[in-house]
């Protein structure tokens, strides 16, 4: 049960997305997110969706995995969609008017595109980051990207070391939680029944030993690290070298082009496409 929790959703592989430098993917994800929020017309959204589909194809991650990634946010999506549908006030006549409920065309459109936006956001960023980048290279990439901040006194290295250690110890502590739970269960502890308050209280005998042991581990680890000559204030070298290759520059160029495309398309007047009904629909500003 509890050991089923996996951190991140990294799927090892050898696709182009897997091989890219983590910094490229981090920057690409930023560009992609900006593009999502710059998209204003159905045509721009079509472009975004197309681009996301290309990312999925390139990553070679199965569609079922991706759908599983969306599942946890479905309720939030439904809730916000309903809010948008019922709360948005449109300019024209409401489509449905019943008691105090008034549904406008704008509300429905907004709900549809908001949902699309969130889904694209989740799929796109997980495609680029969590699914195709191992936690350790993600940490390395973040440290490298943030390293200019070290010059103004931000302890970038300390944060990345803390992140690495956290990632390292999550499985160990999960395993330990499982052991403690079993130990308490064997003495008759009941975690599954009773009121919410009762169940929360039942967690205390798990949390206390877990914390005690985590502190003990922290101390032992600190001593072990010191014995291996770790010093916060001293410059360290690294085994793994992040190298920007041609493909990284190319990828960033494609992402930048894509962002520009989305912005331009979002501002394009319908007349440019001939001004027909379809053109006006595609360029309808949401």
């Amino acid at each position: 049960m509890i050991s089923d929790i996996t951190l991140g959703q990294f799927f090892p592989g050898f696709s182009l997305l897997h091989k890219l430098d983590p910094r490229t993917k981090l920057l690409g994800a930023i560009l992609f997110i900006v593009a999502i929020f710059m998209a204003k017309t159905p045509l721009a959204f079509a472009l975004l969706t197309l681009f996301t589909l290309v990312l999925i194809l390139v990553s070679r991650i199965s569609v079922s995995v991706i759908l599983r990634g969306i599942r946890p946010v479905i309720y939030i999506l439904i809730f916000t969609s309903l809010l948008n549908i019922f709360m948005t006030k449109g300019a024209g006549e409401p489509l449905v008017a019943f008691w105090i409920v008034k549904i406008y065309k704008e509300g429905i459109i907004r709900a549809i595109f908001m949902t699309l936006r969130v889904i694209l956001l989740i799929v796109g960023s997980s495609m680029l980051l969590t699914y195709t980048t191992s936690p350790i290279s993600l940490t390395d990439g973040l440290e490298s990207l943030l390293s200019p901040l070290a010059r103004i006194g931000v302890p970038v290295h300390i944060f990345s070391m803390m992140m690495t250690i956290a990632l390292r110890f999550i499985p160990t502590l999960v395993e330990e939680t499982d052991k403690i739970m079993n130990a308490q269960k064997s003495r008759g502890a009941d975690f599954a029944s009773g009121s919410l308050v009762r169940r929360a209280k039942a967690l205390i005998p798990i949390l206390v030993p877990l914390f005690v042991s985590a502190f003990k581990r922290a101390e032992e680890l600190a001593v072990a690290m010191e014995c291996r000559c770790y010093r916060v204030d001293k410059k360290r070298t690294k085994l793994a070298k992040l190298t920007f290759r041609a493909r990284d520059f190319l990828t960033l160029f494609v992402f930048a082009l894509f962002l520009t495309g989305v912005i331009l398309v979002s501002r394009m007047p319908a007349s440019l496409l001939g001004g027909s009904f379809v053109a006006r629909l595609l360029c309808y500003r949401i």
Binding site: S134, T164, R168, C227, R231, K238
Partner: protein, 295 residues
Amino acid sequence: MEDKKKTVILAEHLTYVYEDDGGAHNAPPAVSDVSFSVEEGEYIAILGHNGSGKSTLAKLCNMIFTPTEGRLTVLGKEVTAKDFSEEDMFALRADIGMVFQNPDNQLVATVVEEDVAFGPENLGLAREEIRRRVNGALGAVGMEEYARHAPHKLSGGQKQRIAIAGILAMKPKVILFDESTSMLDPLGRAEVVAIMERLNREEGITVIHITHYMDEAARASRVIVMNDGRIAFDGKPSEVFSNVDKLHDLGLEAPQGVELLHELKRAGLSFEGHPLTEQECIEALAKMLGGGANV
């Protein structure tokens, strides 16, 4: 030939008292007035029951603790000297590695080779050199194929081998094993002990192994028995383990075979020499029984 070898650790009247944290006053010293020396290339086992001060002694040697009194010289540098700086300490620590008891609590990184690289990275070595050392160290413990694995998925013995590789990558002259086998299953223990012996024999690394297991201690070239913060015995395993009754007084036992022969001796039988390992004890028994052929 013996006197040509360098002394790696020289302890003179070492005493260490844990600072009491508001608890009982005048806590007895964990190590009191201990003097000994370790020569280069020795394979020493330190024995003693819980609280005998054996772990404290190791932590003194590795400069985790600073002696309350006495003089300690490690690899020719006096660490108790007034002008011994933090820089000196870190420089020295690369040469005297320590493998701890809990394999989980000494691995830092989420990938095996990244963890082995941790020490060399701290030393600020060049990337190519780190790569060479990581590969060499993983090879020395037979874990090359696990280089890209996550440490939490390995067995206890494998984790401990990774921890040893992490120390080896710093190219130490001395390795202290602080009860490094006590949390392992018999298979893992055997693996780790085999690595210790090989490092000592082939690489000439001085090994100091703190342990509860008598059969492990019997394989060392020298055994130090600690009791109440003092050295009770210091000698060859055959000498130390011949004092079975005295060991019992200290709450320790000799290896099983030795215990058996001791009981038989008390019953009136006699054996030649000082059999120590299981094999030697079997042979001694067989000889006594007159057969000796098929053992």
